[in-house]
């Protein structure tokens, strides 16, 4: 079944149109990457799906159901987002417990204590961090909290906006392993935005290359590993990545 389907998605900020006719179908359980440089519109696509860029035309379907332009509670239950910067995306004056519990309060879900403990265990956060503030945690721990927050409502789809680009390589490895394990355990669907092709190669099944608000190529990760991308622009991105590989 299709988990997430975009059809002719045009997203604008004011008078500026950011994306042009973006269409994608992502199967349930699939891990899909959007790659491209800054300004290609890849993050904007995620924002539109999450409801943070409401000025769009076209169609966004999540598990077969069309998404409205406004705040949509049913949608939040199935689809959640993890942001790039763990320093900026957690409320500085809320403890980990408050951050994780908030979604439960909004959606009127009980059993808060057990759920918070369960989710913290599943993202590998020790119980002692539960009543700490973000500034008392390291970057990697904060990103674990951000992932835990996104998983609180047991969604089916996670939108990941450069989840590891603000982290050190060794911490990046930990978070990537975590995401891979969570996907396997909870049968999650990932839509990840990144400019790091090796990360795509590790975590994803398929990728779409975006440029100037358009998708120029959709390929499988096997194609990427073999260096078998067709569009000149995709090949250019690949060469830049390969040039710095050791």
């Amino acid at each position: 079944m299709t988990a997430l389907s975009l059809k002719d998605l045009d997203i604008s900020y004011g008078d500026t149109q950011i994306t042009h006719k973006v269409s994608l179908d992502i199967a349930e359980g699939e891990s899909f990457a959007l790659v491209g440089e800054s300004g290609s519109g890849k993050s904007t696509v995620l924002k539109a799906i999450a409801g943070l860029a409401p000025q769009w035309t076209g169609e966004i379907r999540v598990l077969g159901k069309a998404r409205s332009h406004g705040v949509d509670r049913d949608f939040s239950r199935v689809c959640q987002m993890v942001f790039q910067d763990p320093y900026g995306s957690l409320h500085p004056r809320k403890t980990v417990d408050a951050t994780l519990g908030e979604a439960l309060t909004i959606h009127g879900i009980g059993d808060r204590n057990a759920r918070v403990e369960e989710i913290m265990a599943s993202v590998g956060l020790d119980r002692k961090f539960r009543f700490r503030f973000p500034h008392q945690l390291s970057g990697g721990q904060r990103q674990r909290v951000a992932i835990a927050r996104a998983l609180m409502l047991k969604p089916k789809i996670l939108l990941l906006d450069e989840p590891t680009s603000a982290l050190d390589v060794s911490v990046q490895a930990e978070i990537l392993n975590l995401l891979k394990r969570l996907r396997r355990e909870q049968n999650l669907t990932f839509l990840m935005v990144t400019h790091n092709l090796p990360v795509v190669s590790f975590l994803c099944d398929r990728l779409a290359v975006m440029r100037h608000g358009r998708i120029v190529e959709v390929a499988s990760v096997d194609d990427l590993r073999r260096g078998d991308l067709k569009e000149p622009y995709s090949r250019e991105l690949m060469q830049i990545s390969a040039a710095h590989a050791t």
């Binding site: 440089e37 800054s38 390589v169 060794s170 490895a173 090796p198 990427l224 073999r226 710095h244």
Partner: protein
């Protein structure tokens, strides 16, 4: 020939409630007119090492060194005023994020000119010419137009090129680049580093490139120091990074995903193994 920079047993200490903590613990190296990379994770002391060279470690932090000499000048005994004559003119530093290190209320042209005029006085026409020439050399296509813009009107990549222009216009002998491209995209990253590389080679400057990205450092430097918890754990030629012997360096290399990644799980550093020292 005298080395450009000599550092022996550099220590940087910060007081905490639990006593003093050494963030840099006895780092020694010498630098000629070459490109040196310092790699390490957050908290490894790599940035503090770079900052101590310019004596930019603020109180309550303290810097000690058996020897801290730049081009034969003993930096440890220099006053703040004497340091100001060196900073920018002889040693300059490119910071991580142009969003925070450019002055938001000055045009780009004024900022670059200021870097030049701080150290010598020149007629206005010549200043303008040099600013424009410098902007051109960092591959900014319309220097006259860009010089009139404010930092918020340019992209991150262009902001970083502006900063490089500002740092290189007084023609320093040593450039310290502290994570110069971490805030930028991969495609722009390569561009910015190529510019630094070209200018450093052309002017025969020394470069200290501080980064957490092993791959970048190994492709842009001649020699690499790997730092962990304030100490240099490994020193090698850039080309020989793959043959690194220290478990920390090997762990870092292994944890980077590759373009043709087929491992199911990435190896994670076991910090307990060597962090006890």
């Amino acid at each position: 020939m005298r080395p450009l920079l000599e550092i022996e047993n550099l220590r940087v200490t910060f007081p905490t409630t639990r006593g003093d903590t050494d963030v840099v613990r006895g780092v020694s190296f010498t630098l000629g007119r070459e490109r040196l990379g310092i790699v390490g994770e957050s908290g490894s002391g790599k940035s503090m090492t770079g900052r101590s060279i310019l004596k930019l470690v603020r109180a309550p932090g303290r810097v000690y060194a058996d020897k801290l000499a730049f081009d034969g000048i003993d930096l440890s005994t220099r006053s703040e005023k004497q340091m100001r004559a060196l900073r920018g003119a002889r040693i300059s530093m490119v910071m991580q994020d142009p969003k925070f290190s450019l002055n938001p209320v000055m045009t780009i042209g004024e900022q670059i000119a200021e870097a030049l005029l701080t150290h010598k006085s020149l007629p206005r026409r010549e200043v303008n010419d040099r600013v424009h020439a410098m902007l051109e050399s960092v591959r900014i296509a319309e220097p006259e137009r860009v010089a009139r813009l404010y930092p918020h009107e340019v992209s991150g990549g262009m902001g970083q090129r502006v900063m490089i222009a500002m740092m290189l216009i007084p023609e320093p002998d040593l450039l310290i680049a502290d994570e110069p491209t971490s805030a930028l995209d991969v495609s722009v990253q390569a561009q910015v580093l190529d510019i630094i590389d070209e200018l450093v080679r052309r002017k025969g400057m020394g470069l200290i490139f501080i980064s957490h990205d092993l791959n970048l450092v190994s492709s842009y430097c001649d020699r690499i120091l790997v730092m962990n918890t304030g100490e240099v754990v490994e020193e090698c030629r850039a080309g020989e990074l793959m043959n690194a012997t220290h478990p920390y360096t090997r762990g870092l290399i292994a944890s980077i995903p590759r373009l043709d990644e087929t491992r199911d799980e990435l190896p994670v550093l076991d910090r307990s193994a060597w962090a006890k020292a």
